[in-house]
């Protein structure tokens, strides 16, 4: 449904998006996972037609976005990162406006609005002004505005940022319901667990580039023959490098004062051998952690940083 080819967006010398290409199939929930500043929102802005790419092309159902933007945008729903709502209007008035803007009218509009309210559990507060809503309720309405016109594909840019766990669970449930109905979703997040539990396929993005792409299992397999060891203690980087460099099948993938991350090739036995080497290195250690294969270890392996860094 979506095909993105060599997308580039520059801000001066900074390449916020640096040659991204991917494809999203119909009915798929495709995740863009990466830390803040990775280029996720810029990519979404280009997909929603808000930003023109400096290079590259975006196709929706085989039609280039720039060729017929209004018609394509009418088939998309957008859930922005910020809660873009009219605070003095009620939830229903907000939904009616957006539904009307996408061409709905009369009974169709009424039905769509009530369905969207029900979808995000806001029917009981439909008449209340948005300014009286909690942060979680605003997030839910923000999601509903992107769904009210029944789009074929929805672009969701970190829709759960800054809300409590319960509100987050409600939103994730609504997102699952959307994909279950056959709607295509592109979902950006920096939460590993969201990507792991929600997405059919995930692209790991950093510094404007896609580092890896696949299903969660496929991505995890990339590190299944590697063990990630995180060593912390009172040591400086050079001292640690000097003492650990000689460990067999071990590569230092990240180092900072008091913390060093090692990638050990092989099975669990190789990790134990590496651990023995670390313990025997004479470094003043506080702790050593071996991470099971996860999206975080994939990200660590690819970037040398944890996603939460």
């Amino acid at each position: 449904m979506f095909r993105v080819e060599g997308l580039v967006k520059r801000y001066g010398d900074l390449r916020a998006v640096d040659g991204i290409s991917f494809e999203v199939r119909k009915g798929e929930l495709y995740g863009l996972l990466g830390p803040n500043g990775a280029g996720k929102t810029t990519t979404m802005s280009m997909l929603s037609g808000l930003l023109a790419p400096d290079e590259g092309r975006i196709f929706f159902d085989g039609v280039e976005l720039g060729a017929d933007p209004i018609r394509i945008k009418a088939q998309l729903g957008v859930v922005p990162q910020e809660t873009a709502l009219y605070e003095t209007l009620s939830a229903r008035e907000n939904l009616r406006f957006w539904a009307g803007l996408y061409g709905l009218a009369g009974a169709d509009l009424d039905k769509a609005v009530e369905r969207a309210l029900d979808q995000v559990g806001l029917t009981g507060r439909a008449k209340d002004a948005v300014k009286t809503f909690s942060g979680g309720m605003k997030r839910r309405l923000n999601l509903a505005l992107g769904l009210v016109h029944g789009p074929r594909a929805v672009l969701m840019d970190e829709p759960t940022v800054g809300i409590d766990p319960q509100a987050r669970a409600n939103i994730l449930e609504a997102v699952r319901a959307v994909t279950a109905s056959g709607t295509t979703v592109i979902y950006t997040t920096h939460y590993l667990e969201e990507a792991e539990t929600l997405c059919d396929r995930v692209a790991i993005i950093d510094h404007g580039r896609i580092l890896a792409e696949g299903t969660v299992d496929e991505l995890k397999r990339r590190v299944s023959d590697k063990q990630i060891l995180t060593v912390s203690g009172n040591f400086d980087v050079e001292q640690a490098r000097a003492r650990l460099a000689a460990l067999p099948d071990t590569q230092i993938i990240a180092a900072s004062p008091g913390k060093i991350v090692l990638s050990v090739a092989g099975s669990g036995k190789a990790a134990i051998e590496a651990l023995s080497g670390v313990l025997a290195s004479g470094l003043d250690l506080d702790g050593v952690a071996i991470q099971p294969p996860s999206l975080n270890s994939v990200f660590l392996d690819l970037t040398g940083r944890e996603l939460r860094d």
């Binding site: 406006f97 957006w98 803007l101 061409g103």
Partner: protein, 420 residues
Amino acid sequence: MRTLLLLVAKDLKRKVRSPLGLLIVLSFPVVFALLIALSFGSRGERVPKIHLLVENQDGGLAANALLSALTSDQVAKYVEMEVVGSEGARRIENNEASALLRIPKRFTQDLFDGKPATLSLLRNPAQGILPEVAEQLTRVLVDVLDAGARVLRKPLEEIRSSAQPNAGRVTDETVIAVSLAVNHSVEGARKLVFPPAITVDTASLAPKPADQKSGESVSLIFLIILPGVSVYALFLVGDQAMRDIITEAKAGTLRRQLAGPIGAGTLVLGKALYTAVLALLALLVLSVVGAVVLRRGVDLAGFLLLSFALVLAVTGISATIYGLAKDERRGATIGSIVYLVLGFAGGSFVNLEGLPRAVRAVSPASPFYWGTAGYRKLIESAGTAGDILPNAAVLAGLGAVLLVLGALLLHRTVRRGGLA
């Protein structure tokens, strides 16, 4: 068209839900009018004192009688009289008084001789309505003196002949005869002369429904203030409405709309239409206030023509300001400065006559000037659509040009993501 209506309806609904800003702007001329109504209330008890300079070049009986009249308790409530020498004109230039009344040489003599006598009044236009009141007061005094001179013609002649150097001694009988003649003349003219003819409140500021002249005085006060301040308020309403495009950009709703099936041009057009509709509604409110306060009918065609032209100008200027501004703060700052300068130069706050000559010379460059002058023409001079056609043409032309310019600037900014 449907999208435009949706956008305007949404913005109007938001304005209705959060009307404080609009009410504050609209209350500006209303509060002004109310303050004036309170100050110059229905009885005129609180008319500010007129500082009247009198240059008495005559010094005779009639001149002194005039000075006495001006210092009488009744007149002193409204007039602070000061006798001055030849420096009077300079003091008017220095804005130290409302008017200078000059009593010429031979004034008394001419009055006794039955010759025409002229009092001259030099008005200070910088003091708004006060010189107008002073002029009316002078006219009343002149009428009284004129009537007195005519009524007392016979006794005055007897007094004059008695005062001749060769007339000999004035006997008791002569005095009694003159007194009787005066008494007879005054009795005969009592209905004309009394109650006291110099009644400033009646002749100037006190509005009486049946008294066209006093009504005019009150109307003059409002005429000077209300149209200018209302035009200024209208531009502020336009500024507020157009600024909403930046408010929406900050709230993220502009970006969200642009991600939908709506072009940047439609969005800008929608905001311009909303600005125009809001300005029209504000104009309606201000018109009702004006009608209540001024109590005058105006030529409807002329009023509508001027109002639509003004709304176009309001929309065009505000669109240009926010097309040039990159954010809300800069837009508000530029707007405040532009409106203040144009409002001042255009006579929104001070009557044009009271502005320095250099400012008056550039007044026609301000749309406020054309708006204010147009409404004054319609209200004060009972002007018609034909009379205000130049005003409407200038406003509409300026508005159309600036609207196109502003829309292009805003469109460019929105498309480039400058606001979104």
